[in-house]
Amino acid sequence: MFSILKNDLIAPKLHRIVVEAPRIAAARKAGQFVIVRESAGEERIPLTIGDANIEQGTITLFVQAIGTSTRKIANVPAGSFLLDVAGPLGMPTEIKKWKRVVCVGGGVGTAVLYPMAKELAAVGNEVKTIIGGRTKSLIILADELSQFCQEVCITTDDGSLGTKGFVTDQLANLLDSPDTRPNTVLAVGPVPMMRAVAEQTRPYGIHTIVSLNPIMIDGTGMCGGCRVQIGKETKFACVDGPEFDGHLVDFASLAKRLSMYKAHEEACRLLAS
């Protein structure tokens, strides 16, 4: 049993929860994730570790309540428990001095991006961040990011906050000039966004890292459900990833595989309503 100390709604359907998990807090590195099961009979859900506090023995998770199981996790109030939290899983983000880094976050992807950006800034990179969402209420962590980023650029589809448009528009501006062009780009968000970013940086040959979130069960490489096509190779996102070279990821196949259980999810929604 893992105690939930805090549960805040930080954007519509997006919860930030602080979980007591001292061993994971001590072992975890940026880019790693945990597998959470809310209660007996529930799905095992992979969630990125957004932050950790070793002294307090806590980890922070961002949960987007979109499916049946994620809704259940998001609805556990502070003072209550999650049955299972296992991790940290996956390979940590490669933290090194790239010099100039641009981090691009879309929606809840910004939460995944946050610990990576923080670590990259801590080792002396010049980090700029572009975060986007459909509308103002979906923009998260802008203040937190601005504490260590040289610049935090916000875009919304409807123009309700920051610049109207997409994150890719802002990235295009930075790529345009040799003075602002980054050595490395990190992109985390919906599949179409990550694909678009990878296509944008490809002509410049800029090292581009994306963090993938395919369907997973055990998270230790045993089941092979999270396999993704990276160049000519099949990789397991849980043990080889979740971060991969964006120029090698087969995004089309990833998107198809993510839709594998759409019918089931629809049936669950109908049953629940």
Binding site: I24, A86, G221, G224, V239, S253, K256, R257
Partner: protein
């Protein structure tokens, strides 16, 4: 009960048949297929044992169960004694009685098998173990020696780890098992389906170990949550039984289409997560009307029979050799056939074919013929030029096997591995690192439950000796 029968009288008793659920009914439910022997039938079967002096059956058992003794006591109706002997020798008798390949182990050595049918040792083991479970309140737990003050960490709660734990807790050592998943049993729970090994059996066997003092911590991944170095600091000895790992990929076009599963994923969804077994289970599974399973081992049989139970109209085994070469247990093949599974032999997959939405629609196969014998003595399958065919399927399951999982081993570069990434051990189950022992699939690659248990038993013996060489701990 009278066990004073003449050899002639014993020889005259025919082998008892295991009663089973009707094939048509069971191919649509997850309840256990074999129903177990009734007490009188079990006693009569036990009386078929000639109590020969050779005790060959024991040498055929990887954990060395005192078979003639427990069978002899059963034949005399001394069930309490039979249960005591069995539980002393085997930490998981109700599991072994169900999933061991007895036909190639104890029963293969039985003298009665030289002329006729061997004693049904597996069925008897199951009977005695089940009897012991339902009479546990009247039976004593195997006694533990007085506390040694030594602590042993066991990595992995599968058959190897549970055996080590059972053996060493009996010697008075403090045992903690670390399990990566959220539940106990390892492959017994995520791999073997309910219809072959009910989860309740695992629960009871694990509970018995906990009652004897074994501690189990789930959700702890050694190599990730804690390191081997953490364990070396806190424990006097460590047993690595973290199991098989990554699925071996098909390596053919279309492997990542929707509807293509690795056997581990398919079985884990159903067995560990309950997909398809309960109406409102939150973990989904693609049921499939035509399911093709590639491979012919026990895992393949488990997949194909699960597919039938999930409603497949056609559930098929696709195998590149012939039936006689299939590595699965005879009983599984027999049961699969009774349940309407189709066997597509001498066929090797070339590609998985998808529809316009990237869902599986067929398996493109190569017709094979058997050529010369290979190193394993089995005739090598060779393609028949130009003979390929399409097998319609909406779910394809890859049951080719697994390779070593590097999750733990990659974090311990000084630990010696073989060229396939499996941990190297000596005959006693010791690795090259002092105080670190290993067994089961992480050493053998994909093997059986009982071989893992045999490793566990042997390693436990070695660990006990090792601990006795350490200075006494002051507590």
């Amino acid at each position: 009960m009278n066990n004073h029968l003449s050899p002639k009288e014993r020889l005259a008793i025919p082998r008892t048949q295991m009663p089973a659920q009707d094939p048509v009914i069971r191919s649509r439910n997850f309840s256990e297929v074999n129903l177990g022997l009734a007490e009188l039938a079990a006693i009569e079967e036990a009386q078929r044992c000639l109590l020969c002096h050779g005790r060959n059956c024991v040498s055929g058992c990887p954990v060395g169960v005192s078979i003639p003794e427990f069978v002899g006591n059963l034949a005399s109706g001394n069930l309490t004694e039979a249960a005591g002997i069995l539980q002393q020798d085997n930490a998981l008798p109700a599991v072994c009685g169900r999933v061991c390949p007895q036909e190639s182990q104890c029963e293969a050595q039985c003298v009665r098998g030289k002329k006729g049918d061997p004693v049904a040792i597996g069925h008897l083991e199951r009977f005695v173990a089940d009897w012991a479970m339902s009479h546990s309140e009247n039976l004593d737990l195997p006694s533990n020696s007085k506390p040694s003050g030594k602590r042993v960490a066991v990595v992995g709660c599968g058959p190897a780890g549970l055996t080590v734990a059972g053996e060493l807790v009996g010697k008075g050592h403090g045992i903690t098992i670390f399990e990566a998943l959220h539940d106990t049993g390892g492959v017994l729970r995520y791999g073997i389906p309910e219809f072959r090994l009910p989860k309740e059996i695992i629960d009871i066997e694990v509970e018995r170990l906990i009652d004897r003092g074994v501690k189990i911590e789930c959700n702890v991944i050694i190599g990730k949550t804690l390191t081997l170095q953490d364990l070396q600091r806190d424990y006097d000895a460590i047993f690595l039984g973290n199991g098989a790992g990554l699925p071996v990929l098909l390596g053919i076009e279309g492997e990542n289409l929707n509807g293509v599963y690795a056997a581990n994923e398919y079985l884990t969804r159903v067995n560990l997560m309950g997909a398809g077994q309960t109406v409102n289970c939150s973990t989904p599974i693609i049921r499939g009307k035509k399911v093709a399973v590639i491979g012919a081992g026990n895992t393949a049989m488990d997949c194909v029979r699960t597919a039938r139970r999930l409603g497949a109209e056609e559930a098929m085994i696709v195998y590149r050799r012939e039936e006689a070469q299939m590595p699965a247990r005879l009983e599984e093949v027999h049961h699969a056939k009774e349940e309407g599974v189709k066997f597509v032999m001498l066929s090797s997959p070339l590609a998985v074919i998808g529809d316009e939405n990237d869902w599986v629609k067929a398996l493109h196969c190569q017709k094979m013929a058997l050529g010369e014998a290979d190193d394993s003595g089995r005739r090598r399958p060779v393609p028949i030029d130009g003979e390929t065919f399409m097998l319609e399927a909406d779910v394809v399951i890859n049951a080719l096997g697994t390779s070593a999982n590097p999750l733990l081993t990659s974090t311990v570069p000084e630990l010696q591995l073989n060229r396939w990434g499996n941990i190297t051990v000596n005959d006693e189950g010791a690795t090259n690192l002092p105080g670190v022992f290993a067994g089961g699939d992480i050493v053998r690659g994909g093997a059986t439950v009982i071989l893992a248990m045999g490793d566990g038993k042997r390693a436990a013996h070695t660990i006990d000796n090792y601990l006795s060489t350490l200075p006494k701990t002051v507590s």
